[in-house]
């Protein structure tokens, strides 16, 4: 008897008693749905975080002091004493760092900005004219400040949309040319950064940027010429690792150190950040999936149970089949295919349930959290894996009952009532 044939016979047997088949495949169905859903949750978190990290710009390397908390882009780069302006200049040297395209020192501090009667707390960055390009930002109004303004420590500021929302009523054009007060000094607004969305870990619109020289010369604590971080842009995505190594090397030499672990700075590229993120979420996803997989095993036990009952019930039938010429292999195949079909159909239904639930969860989470919680994203490999595993479970847990059926002696089976 061919496999195709046996498959038809197995499906006929399953549909003959639909309630029983449905109940026995329930375990597999739930297990597969759970695996797909939980992996989708982990996957969604991973994709969401990755895409946020990617918004930093794929050629970007960030250097910041080592005594800061690492790994979190959301952490503020507080006062830094270990990175200097000279460090930044050394990195900008094409003979030492040929893969470096641009270098930008950055200071970061939280300030209260005032305009007329309105106050707003925002993150103030001191940077160079390369800011917009390095941070991948467009202007929605006005211009970013120029290198002339950096050299002359001009008191100009570029605002993010959230600041404009709170101080100028939301219209970028209305902010241009206006004056805001930072630490009781007046700054002129020269431009507004186009919105990058507020979802996720950091609000990229709640920023203001002034020339770094201005922050050194006019803001509190600036005399020390502190730097919160240095942004380094590599030539292109392929040379990021090379640029990372060159930058690390230059800084180590300046400190007369040989090992990055002894250093007072950290060099992070978007790529290495992404890798870390993927690793962590990967582990999380596998963990969730493994827990869900336990329910698959329970489902398999359920299938084995029901197949044992089926074999016992059909003992007479097995005897008849053997009497008319079925070999052991024929009977084994028949019942194995039946258990695998049971598990397989359960798996397919579980896939439908899992994908459906993920979509439902995505829309519910989307509307409830208005974008700050990452929605589940179904991972196709998890679907294929879950289905394959469910058929495998049908095979594995079906072997014992099928073997018992195959080993029945014909006359004993025929006599069974």
């Amino acid at each position: 008897m061919s496999v195709q044939e046996a498959l038809r016979v197995a499906l006929a047997a399953l549909t003959a008693n639909r309630l029983r088949s449905a109940l026995s495949m329930l375990g597999i169905l739930i297990g597969v749905a759970a695996v797909i859903l939980l992996v989708a949750v982990g996957n969604g978190a991973s994709i969401s975080i990755s895409s946020q990290v990617q918004q930093l710009g794929s050629n970007l390397i960030v250097i910041f002091p080592a005594n800061q908390q690492s790994g979190g882009v959301s952490q503020g780069f507080g006062t830094a004493r270990t990175l200097t302006a000279e460090d930044a200049q050394a990195l900008d040297d094409p003979s030492n760092a040929p893969d470096v395209f641009a270098v930008m020192p950055v200071t970061t501090v939280e300030v209260t900005m005032q305009h007329q009667e309105q106050n707003w707390v925002t993150t103030l960055s001191g940077a160079t004219e390369d800011y917009a390009q390095m941070q991948n930002r467009d202007m929605s109004a006005g211009w970013f400040f120029t290198d002339t303004e950096v050299r002359s420590s001009a008191k100009v500021v570029v605002l993010g949309q959230t600041v404009v929302d709170n101080l100028f009523g939301g219209d970028p054009a209305a902010a241009i040319g206006q004056s805001v007060k930072i630490q009781r000094q007046s700054f002129r607004v020269t431009g507004v950064l186009a919105s990058k969305g507020t979802g996720g870990l950091i609000n990229q619109d709640n920023v203001a940027v002034i020339p770094i020289t201005t922050s050194w010369n006019y803001l509190v604590g600036g005399r020390r010429k502190n730097i919160s971080s240095i942004l380094v842009q590599a030539n292109d995505a392929d040379t990021v690792e090379a640029a990372q190594q060159e930058a690390t090397q230059i800084l180590l030499e300046r400190r007369k150190l040989s090992d990055i672990s002894e250093a007072d700075f950290q060099v992070l590229s978007q790529q290495s950040l992404l890798q870390q993120v993927r690793q962590i979420t990967g582990v999380l996803t596998i963990f969730l999936g493994a827990i869900a997989a336990i329910s698959l095993i329970v489902g398999g036990i359920g299938i084995m149970n029901i197949m044992l009952v089926t074999v016992t019930e059909r003992t007479r039938e097995i005897g008849i089949r053997k009497a008319i010429g079925a070999k052991r292999r024929d009977v084994l195949l028949q019942f194995l295919i039946e258990s695998m079909s049971l598990a397989g159909v359960g798996g397919l239904l579980g896939i439908v349930a899992g994908v459906g639930l993920s979509a439902l969860a995505a829309s519910v989470i989307g509307s409830l959290s208005s974008g700050s919680l990452p929605p589940p994203v179904v991972s196709i490999p998890s679907v294929v894996l879950a289905f394959g595993v469910s058929v495998g479970i049908g095979l594995f847990f079906g072997i014992y009952p099928a073997n018992r059926a195959a080993r029945l002696r014909p006359i004993e089976a025929l006599r069974y009532e």
């Binding site: 006929a12 007479r316 089949r321 010429g325 070999k327 024929d330 014909p410």
Partner: protein
């Protein structure tokens, strides 16, 4: 040709030994029509099971067409049951929830055939007069019809031997005669028929009667075959 030499069968149930057969010598030539008779417990079913390769003797030899069945593997025995022997049981033993056609096709499926299967099965059903019940399931057929389907299944692989264990036991008179007529026809076409029955009427259709008592043959007589005189 069926040849039993000093065949015994002993069952052990716990401490008790049951001698179902105590040394049977039997020779059935090709084309014979034998009725095996005896009371309950005489061993006639056990004899049939051994002849049909469903069971093996505890001692003695069973030569089927010259081959000692005890030298055969399980798979070879299954093949014999598939191709050489056709069974008809008292309780029909059709597979439930499958059509007559599928039931009759089954031995051919186990024989590995696929293409001509349907045709041969339909031909077998036609031979027993039930080609218009091909799509019915056993639950939709009368007892007599079910047994006829069983006969069709028994002969679909064109076996040389037909073994019938009380084939008319669950049938009324009319259906019984139908079945016996079929068996007589099949015998006349050249097949060996061995029939177990406890009814003298039915045994009358055979040309030889073997009587068993307590596991031994007590008589083995040829007889005049009853001539079919029906409508």
């Amino acid at each position: 040709m069926i040849e039993l030499k000093a065949v015994s069968k002993v069952y052990r149930t716990g401490q008790v030994e049951v001698y179902a057969l105590r040394g049977i010598d039997l020779l059935v030539e090709k084309g014979a029509f034998v009725a095996v008779m005896g009371a309950s417990g005489s061993g006639k079913s056990t004899l049939m099971n051994i002849v049909g390769c469903l069971d093996l003797p505890t001692s003695g030899r069973y030569l089927l067409d010259g081959v000692d069945v005890q030298e055969l593997s399980d798979n070879e025995l299954a093949e014999i049951r598939n191709r050489k022997i056709g069974f008809v049981f008292q309780s029909f033993n059709l597979i439930p929830r499958t059509t007559s056609l599928q039931n009759v096709e089954l031995p051919l499926a186990y024989a590995g055939l696929s293409a001509e299967r349907r045709q041969r099965a339909l031909a077998a059903l036609a031979a027993v007069g039930l080609e218009n019940r091909a799509r019915h399931q056993p639950s939709e057929l009368s007892g007599g019809q079910q047994q006829r389907v069983a006969v069709a299944r028994a002969l679909v692989t064109d076996p040389s031997i037909l073994l019938a264990d009380e084939p008319t036991g669950n049938l009324d008179t009319e259906a019984s005669l139908e079945i016996m007529r079929l068996l007589v026809e099949l015998n006349q076409a050249g097949r060996t028929v061995v029939l177990i029955t406890h009814e003298e009427d039915i045994a009358g259709f055979a040309r030889r009667v073997v009587r068993l008592r307590d596991g031994l043959i007590v008589s083995d007589q040829p007889q005049e075959q009853k001539v079919w005189a029906g409508p």
